[in-house]
Amino acid sequence: MAEVMKLDLPGSLSQVAHLREAVADTLRMLKGVEDAESICYNVQLAAQEIAVNIVEHAYKGGRDPERQRIRATLSVFQRPRRIEIELRDSGAPFNPAAMPDPALDDVHEGGYGVFLARTLLDELACERESSGNCWRLIKNIP
C-alpha cells in the first residue's frame, strides 16, 4: 500500500519550493528512518533540480503558460521502503542519461543539476509520454 500525494503546479521558479515541501510531508509518513533529515534534504534537492530544469529548459521560450505545468505524484512504499516521485511536463523529449557528469577538478557556474539528481537518487529516468515527459525519481530508504 502506497501513501500518495499529488501536486499540480505552474511551471514557474516561484512554485518549486512547494515541491520541496511536498517531499518533506511525504517522507514524514515514514517513521523511524535513520538520518531522515539528510535523506529528506537529498530528495528535496534532486526533485528541485529536475523541476527547475523543466522550468528553465523544457519550458524555455514557451508561450502557453496554461500548458507549462508540473504535475507531481509523490508516493512512499514500504517493501522495499522508498519514495517515488513522478514529475510530468509538457516539454520536448530529453534524455538525462546522455548528460555527462561535470568535470570535478574545478567549480563551474552550471551543469550540476542532473549530476546531483542522479547521484543523490537510486533511480532517475525520463520517459516519453503522449503529451510530454514523465520524470521518475526513486530513493530507497534503508
Binding site: E49, E109, F115
Partner: protein, 116 residues
C-alpha cells in the same frame, strides 16, 4: 626630521549570510546583491552559509560567480560551511570544498585576512 611616506589602504570585505533557501528562484537576487558589492569596490567576501537551510545548483552558481569575481578583483571568498550536514555533503560531492576556502565563522574569516 624623518622623511617618510604613509599611505592608508582599505581592504573592503562583506559578510553575506543567507538565512533562507538559495534556490533558482531566489538566487538572482543574491547574485545581484553580490555583484553590487563587488562593483562598489568590495574585494573580499565571506559567504556565511551557516544559517542557510537549503541551496540548489543555482545557488552554487552564485558562489562560483562570487569567487571568480572577487579573485579577479585581487580578493578572495571565504565560506562558512552550512550547519545542515546534508548541504555540507553536497559541497564535498561537487568538490566545492576543494576550491573554496573555509573558516569556522565570519569573524574567523575576517581574522584570516587581517593576520596573513
Amino acid at each position: 626630521m624623518m622623511d617618510l611616506t604613509v599611505d592608508e589602504h582599505l581592504i573592503r570585505a562583506a559578510v553575506i549570510a543567507p538565512k533562507s533557501a538559495i534556490d533558482a528562484f531566489s538566487a538572482p537576487a543574491l547574485r545581484e546583491r553580490i555583484t553590487n558589492l563587488l562593483d562598489s569596490g568590495v574585494t573580499n567576501l565571506v559567504l556565511d552559509l551557516s544559517s542557510t537551510p537549503f541551496m540548489d545548483s543555482a545557488g552554487m552558481s552564485v558562489l562560483v560567480m562570487a569567487l571568480k569575481r572577487s579573485r579577479m578583483a585581487g580578493g578572495n571568498v571565504r565560506m562558512v560551511a552550512p550547519k545542515i550536514e546534508a548541504a555540507n555533503r553536497i559541497l564535498k560531492l561537487t568538490r566545492f570544498d576543494q576550491v573554496f576556502e573555509f573558516s569556522a565563522s565570519a569573524e574567523e574569516a575576517l581574522a584570516v585576512w587581517r593576520k596573513a
